[in-house]
């Protein structure tokens, strides 16, 4: 078979068997430049890695394997079948389901014909799907099973363009009307018949593949965003392939990696991690048996590279902790003891710092007795590299994994960037940064504190929404991330501090990232909740909630008698203690170049902020505006210079009754660090 863009001798020397790790990677790097679409990469891989596993899927308890050559065969048959059924260039193909090889192959089969895959979150309700299917003008939907077929059939009348639904799993669909419904096997059979019927079929398909170009649209990923309708992010082959290759280089990923694909197909992370990277690097993607078996499947496969949002890492820890609670006493003690050892030394050992011999010895025992078995249980024994991305990870959770010896790193990315913006290089790991710009990425921070980037992965635009595109992407190619950040002076890493729209300015022009400061305050166990104000004001003030458990303990130790939360919160010594915390926060703000945002005055609220009173959301997020309204007299006093203020608020008791709560709240002034003399940003 010949494809125009490939040289006639197609890297023959490299294709020789025994593709060692290094050799293979060189081959990838040089050839990938020419293979500028995924179908072309597939053809290249089928030659370069012919007999190596490309996709595995656990089915009926057994791992089924497809080599790259077999994948090419499957994809080609499916693709030709779709061609026969009328899939044309620029047609949109929706893909709905869990991580199954054939759904990944569908992407490539569509792309081979110039079609554009549109993966959709499989757990979306029919309504949400209807919007995307309609907006993207989808003509063919390839779905996993009956559940998804039923969903589509319930909305099919509203989607006149949707001409065909193809399904992977036939169970329960036998008796359905098959006029606009087809089983993948049948489509593939159609394709195979065509291919075996003279050379014309193959030539036609290969011509279609050859017609694809790097700047063509490769995929559309709909991002939900926090507000409004989902937007269709258009990514080209160049975006994805160059980003993936750069990502592979950043972390030295080669054809020997093993990944388990279990994240939603519609998430850009999965698209790069389970599609773009394996296609460029030639490694194997393993599809789990079911969403519930991921841990076990991961253990069986021995994943070397993982990519997940923080939630996943968090859940695994919770699971472990719960399980340990059920364990015998001896086991539990051993676990706790060695966990403490890991917390103290593990990260240092992972970072190759100097560690005393006895610590190394203890850690070695811990590895044998606790960390090793635990990692095995979680299926991360062989992991070389794990990324957390998507949102901020709790420092505790981050450190836990690193302490166990798992090389967990932070990555900051976006759909609009084809994932990669920044990542932590090995050996430069900090819990509170997201690392350095990836290869080929430039970042800058504008006057409003917003992070902007420019990279080969910058998206082509939002589908049918030039307005939004222009809002996000400047004419000279910089993309607004919507996140506020700063460059950490010590490490040179990017630090994300808040959503850009939440960042305000003091009257003197200093930047204020309220959530960032609040998180710093909440870092102290004594402070349960903090609300910071300062936007369009002269200085920053804070209202704090004490943590009853922590402060209560402290009170007991210091023989301080108190009758109620209110009394404890108003206690002078408690105020002193909190004032110290606030001063420490000020010092660290000044160190980080945010001296202007230091807290000048604060008070301790007489009651806990409560979801029942609407002051925080059910997910424990402070509703800053509402709190300001409700405690307007206190805000006035904070900025008015008063020493104390009276407040009375309506509260809802646990049994649902309402009552009034009044108090006199004291206000404290806090020491601030001097502002650095005239240091002006560009």
């Amino acid at each position: 078979m010949r494809v125009n863009n490939l040289p006639a001798n197609g890297g023959k020397g490299l294709a020789a068997r025994g593709t060692g790790r290094g050799e293979g990677r060189i081959a990838v790097a040089t050839e990938a430049v020419r293979a500028d679409t995924f179908p072309k990469l597939l053809i290249r891989n089928a030659r370069l890695f012919a007999g190596r596993p490309a996709y595995r899927h656990k089915d009926l308890g057994i791992w089924q394997v497809w080599t790259w050559a077999q994948v090419l065969d499957e994809v080609r048959a499916f693709s030709v079948g779709l061609q026969e059924l009328g899939l044309a260039r620029n047609d949109k193909v929706a893909i709905i389901g869990s991580n199954r090889p054939r759904l990944y192959w569908t992407m490539c089969a569509a792309q081979a014909l110039g079609g554009v895959p549109v993966p959709i979150y499989a757990d979306s309700v029919a309504e949400e799907m209807a919007y995307i299917l309609d907006h993207a003008e989808v003509t063919i939907a390839v779905v996993e099973d009956q559940e998804q077929v039923d969903k589509l059939l319930s909305i099919v009348e509203r989607l006149p363009r949707l001409a065909l639904i193809v399904y992977d799993e036939p169970r329960g669909l036998r008796d359905y009307d098959h006029q606009r419904l087809k089983w993948i096997d049948d489509v593939q059979k159609l394709g195979r018949d065509r291919l075996s019927d003279g050379a014309a079929g193959l030539q036609r398909w290969e011509a279609a593949v050859a017609a694809g170009k790097g700047e063509d649209l490769a995929v559309m990923l709909y991002t939900s965003g926090t507000t409004g309708r989902p937007k269709g992010v258009m990514l080209t082959f160049d975006n994805l392939i160059v980003s993936a290759i750069n990502g592979n280089r950043f972390d030295s990923l080669g054809p020997d990696e093993e990944v388990v694909a279990y994240l939603p197909l519609a998430w850009v992370g999965d698209h790069v991690f389970s599609y773009a990277q394996p296609f460029t690097a030639g490694f194997c993607v393993n599809c789990p048996e079911s969403p519930e078996t991921v841990s076990e499947d991961r253990r069986e496969i021995g994943t070397t590279y993982a990519f997940a949002p923080p939630r996943i890492y968090e859940n695994l820890i919770t699971l472990t902790m719960v399980r340990m609670e059920d364990a015998g006493r001896f086991k539990r003690h051993m676990f706790r003891y060695f966990l403490a050892v890991a917390r103290r030394w593990g990260e240092k050992i992972l970072n190759r710092e100097k560690v005393p011999l006895h610590a190394r010895l203890l850690y070695w025992f811990g590895e044998r007795l606790v960390y090793g078995p635990l990692k095995n249980r979680l299926g991360v024994s062989r992991i070389r590299l794990a990324y957390t991305a998507g949102e901020a990870i709790g420092p505790e959770i981050f450190r836990f994994w690193r302490a166990l010896g798992v090389n967990l790193k932070q990555l900051y990315g976006q759909t609009e960037a084809s994932v990669y913006i920044t990542a932590q290089p090995d050996g430069e790991i900090y819990a509170d940064t997201v690392g350095r710009p990836n290869i080929g990425v430039d970042i800058k921070i504008d006057d409003n504190g917003e992070v902007l980037f420019k990279s080969p992965g910058v998206f082509a635009g939002y589908y049918k929404d030039p307005e939004k595109t222009a809002e996000t992407k400047t004419s000279d190619g910089w993309v607004h991330t919507g996140d506020a950040g700063l460059i950490d002076a010590k490490s040179g890493h990017l630090k994300i501090i808040d959503r850009a729209k939440d960042v305000g300015r003091l009257n003197d022009g200093s930047l204020l990232a309220p959530k960032y400061i609040e998180n710093k305050l909440k870092f102290y166990p004594n402070i349960r909740e903090a609300v910071v104000y300062g936007d369009k004001r002269d200085f920053v003030c804070a209202m704090l909630n004490i943590d009853l458990t922590a402060v209560g303990n402290w009170a007991e130790r210091n023989n301080i008698v108190y009758g109620s939360y209110q009394e404890l919160a108003g206690h002078a010594q408690v105020c002193d203690m909190l004032a110290e915390h606030v001063e420490e926060v000020n010092r660290s703000l000044a160190d980080e170049g945010m001296a202007g945002a230091q807290i000048r005055r604060f008070l301790v609220l007489h009651k806990e902020l409560d979801a029942d009173d609407g002051e925080i959301t059910r997910t424990q997020k402070v509703r800053r505006g509402f709190v300001a309204q409700r405690y307007a007299p206190l805000i006035a006093a904070l900025y008015g210079g008063a020493r104390e203020a009276d407040i009375s608020t309506e509260v809802t008791f646990e049994d649902g009754r309402k009552g009034m709560l009044s108090a006199r709240v004291k206000i404290r002034d806090v020491q601030t660090m001097p502002m650095p003399v005239m240091e002006k940003a560009a």
Binding site: G61, I62, R171, D175, S290, T293
Partner: protein
């Protein structure tokens, strides 16, 4: 949710016929002169207030109890008193009200145990566990894996069932019954003690079993909504006596039923 709607059950072949069956324990009458039939391919519900004799009736069909009077015809052949083992051999599988799994065994082994009757190789081969016996074990395992896939319990395959949550245990028990590839599947309160979501899942599975494997199902259930949604025909018992028998809509509007059962529960 019903798959091929409008099927004509009444015209179907009778799989099991119960004629004038009575059962008593000592002096207590559990079932008095009950007659009804189950037709091939249908989902048949048996309902009634507590102590109506529903489980006793299931136990009679299954061979745990032997009725003092009456006749039971299964697959066209009248049966005399028979033992549960023979009922199983004849193609009747069942689940139990309080989940009767082999608690010390894994979910996989439980379902494999359901294949006991499907294994043909004798004792000697089993002892050696090689050759044909191994090949057979692999074949049986494949069938079992299909059921595991069908019921979406891959993640608990290797877990001791005693450690599983109740809803999953019920599912494994259903799997064990399915492994027998029965002609008639008896379900004794398949949704008892489940939350709403688990009930919906189980309903879906029951419908799928009926549609996909074509298994005839007789089920006892308390949740009236479930019964009306699932079943083709409903038999109502009260104090061991049949008081109604018909399609859900008929039964629902039957005054005797409303008095005896629906009236009480509303």
């Amino acid at each position: 949710m019903r798959a091929p709607s409008g099927r004509d059950i009444a015209a179907g072949e009778v799989l099991l016929a119960v004629e004038n069956v009575s059962l008593a324990f000592g002096g207590v009458k559990a079932i008095s002169d009950v007659s009804f039939d189950i037709r091939r391919g249908e989902i048949r519900a048996i309902i009634g207030p507590n102590g109506a004799g529903k489980t006793s009736l299931l136990n009679v069909i299954n061979g745990f109890y032997h009725p003092q009077q009456g006749r039971i015809t299964f697959k066209g052949r009248p049966r005399s008193a028979m033992r549960p083992y023979e009922a199983a051999l004849g193609g009747i599988a069942r689940t139990f009200q309080n989940v009767a799994l082999f608690k010390g065994m894994t979910a996989l082994d439980n379902i494999m145990a359901g294949r006991a009757l499907k294994m043909r190789r004798g004792f000697f081969w089993q002892l050696l566990w090689i050759g044909p016996a191994l090949a057979e074990e692999i074949e049986q395992r494949r069938r079992v894996e299909e059921i595991i896939d069908f019921l979406k319990i891959q993640h608990v395959r290797k877990i001791q069932v005693g450690k599983l949550p109740y809803g999953l245990q019920k599912r494994v028990e259903l799997g064990r019954a399915l492994a027998m590839e029965p002609d008639l599947l008896l379900l004794d309160e398949p949704m008892a003690g489940m939350n709403l979501e688990e009930k919906e899942d189980m309903s879906r599975f029951i419908l799928d079993v009926n549609a996909y494997y074509g298994t005839t199902i007789a089920l006892i259930e308390h949740d009236m909504g479930v019964v009306m949604d699932l079943s083709d025909r409903v038999l109502v018992l009260d104090h061991g006596v049949k008081i109604a028998d018909g399609v859900p809509a008929e039964v629902q509007s039957n005054q005797a039923v409303i008095d005896a059962y629906l009236g009480l529960s509303h």
